[in-house]
Symmetry: C2
Subunit: 379 residues, 2 copies
């Protein structure tokens, strides 16, 4: 089955689109591209994400606008890669999250969780003529889950293996692991956020460069600095790292205020900027390694890296030193570029939905049961 996966993240930079061929448990990536949103559209989307500035008429309008934008991405990706639109069997679209409330709000005696993604799949199906599965999160919430994360299911399909224990380690803004014990079944999957990913590193780089740089490209800045062990140990006392999984975190705990505090403390200690970058890079590496030692039933044989952090060579080397017994790989080694991984995941989720397979991971989302996620819009 040939499937397109579409993903637009919370940063609303653009839409990731991937074409994959899926057969049983083999997934082959045929094409990938990120289509950036025009600046004005991005501003509008970010406005829609805040209750203070989101208007009903705009939500309604941009739901359909994003449907058109997503459909365009599918058409362009196929034509640029010489893939016939007719050969595509299915589209899986995550959509753009504009609101997500996993804690819930009271209604009567019940706590009602809710989530809202836009990017009208009826428009995608109509423009492309391809059956489209979208809106994955609501069903998991209806089943008592947090509506996230869903990538662990794709990790399981892609990397679950009879003979080895594997950990798929995503390093995005936040870092999260999917642990797949050898011979793992869907119920055996363990997935949780390990702590900060690139978020703190990026913020420190922004602060030290006065906003000129946004990340530590290739880990070159960190490579020039020295890790301050005392300072690192202070950071490792962060309460999130002590909490038992399942657990998830975000900007509330590791966002800009946290980075600003680190930056000021580092300066007070007389550390150079590059040393602070090196130390927060080590913080990400060490917090991942500690999470493995503390919370996984066994140290994995292999670690498969993905997410932007996989491009940070200093971070990857530190991880290697922290977990010398683990073989370090990346999703690239399995034919899926680290950047394409999330879009590929939603292609896999859609494939499962259309096959009638349950595709949430209750151990990761907290749902009371396995369910078939998503809504199917016929071609």
């Amino acid at each position: 089955m040939r499937v397109v996966g579409l993903m637009s993240g919370t940063s609303a930079d653009g839409v990731d689109a991937a074409v994959v061929d899926i057969s049983k448990r083999k997934v082959r990536l045929l094409a990938f591209e990120m289509f950036p949103y025009p600046a004005a559209l991005r501003r509008q989307i970010l406005k829609l994400c805040r209750p203070e500035s989101a208007r009903l008429d705009d939500i309604c309008h941009y739901n359909f606008v994003l449907g058109e934008v997503f459909a365009d991405a599918v058409v362009k990706l196929c034509s640029r890669n010489g893939i016939s639109l007719n050969s595509i069997d299915l589209i899986g679209s995550h959509g753009q999250t504009i609101y997500h409330n996993p804690i819930g709000k009271q209604y009567g005696r019940a706590m009602i969780r809710s989530t809202l993604q836009i990017g009208e799949p009826s428009v995608i199906a109509q423009r492309t003529g391809i059956t489209t599965v979208a809106d994955f999160r609501p069903r998991d919430m209806a089943a008592g889950g947090e509506g996230a994360p869903f990538v662990p299911y794709a990790d399981y399909i892609l990397y679950g293996y009879k003979r080895l224990h594997r950990a798929v380690q995503n390093i995005g803004g936040i870092a999260n692991v999917t642990f797949l014990p050898s011979g793992c079944k869907q119920d055996d999957i363990i997935a949780f956020d390990t702590g900060p990913g690139n978020m703190v590193i990026d913020d420190i780089v922004r602060l030290m460069s006065g906003g000129k740089r946004h990340y530590d490209r290739g880990g070159k800045i960190a490579a020039r600095g020295t890790v301050d062990k005392n300072f690192l140990n202070e950071m490792l006392r962060h309460p999130f790292l002590q909490r038992r999984p399942p657990k998830s975190t975000g900007r509330e705990e590791f966002g800009t205020p946290f980075a600003e505090q680190i930056f000021q403390r580092g300066a007070k200690k007389g550390l150079k900027d590059v040393d602070i970058v090196a130390t927060v890079t080590a913080f990400t590496a060490r917090s991942i390694a500690q999470a493995y030692r503390k919370f996984l039933p066994v140290i994995p044989d292999e670690m498969i890296l993905c997410g932007g952090g996989a491009h940070n060579r200093t971070l990857v080397e530190m991880l290697h030193r922290e977990l010398p017994e683990v073989k370090m790989l990346s999703t690239d080694d399995f034919g899926i570029s680290v950047d394409a991984k999330e879009a590929v995941s939603f292609a896999i989720l859609a494939w499962a939905t259309i096959k009638g397979l349950t595709n949430n991971v209750p151990g990761a989302t907290g749902a009371e049961q396995s369910v078939v996620l998503g809504k199917i819009v016929p071609a």
Copy 2:
């Protein structure tokens, strides 16, 4: 196939729920009930319908709340009527429209039409364990239609007949006709708004009673008055009535300001209140009859009434006098109560979607092609 249809109208009074058995072209109504919303919920919903008062977090929250309310309606309807939930194969849910823009808003060089219904179908499917089809309107809009009306398809399934020309005449706030010529195919259906239904009558009754009465029950007030022919002819010059179909109207043209104007003019002419009610009742009847004579290719053999106006005996008698050659029936004569008709329609639409049948009527919505409406949420 046993299907539940759910409908919540723009007045947001509550949810209509109907259970039907559908086999080929036979539809049997097993149970119907209207479940009123609690007053606080109704207020919240109406708040969500206005861009000035609708908040993103509330839209997200009440989408899930209404999903729960709709699921409850299904469960209650079945249990009160001794119908096992296990015997239900499918649910069709229209949802609650909170925004609808059939004209569209510019994005780049394109005009983007959009519509937004809430009442999360993932919640309905999860609570009931029944596959749920919902969100019918977006696909018709994606195909270039106005996303309404959809009832003509159900009329076609229910009342299309080889040997007779039939008109299904709904008299809600606005009156609309579905014309089904004998041996009619989906492309032969003609459907449009004929003009005011109960809207003007209701408003006049409210004005004359100082808000104490909301409608002319059974047409008793109109029965006590006399139609003023000059005044009636004035009303009939309304430009909407002259426009060729496809056409649709609403509160913009026949809402409270229009009724207030009529009420004042009637008083100036020295008419008694009951005469004004009689005259606006004749206005509805005559505008329907005129629409048939002007815009239908042939006067129907039978007219099948539905909607609240079917309960107004004075109105029905007037219609009979206007169209003496037409046999007057109501959907009750076919086993579906006039009140259940809309909920039944969405059961039929869902049935068609799951069968893969195209179920919009391009002649009614203006869509460029026939499409399969709706999103399917697996059980």
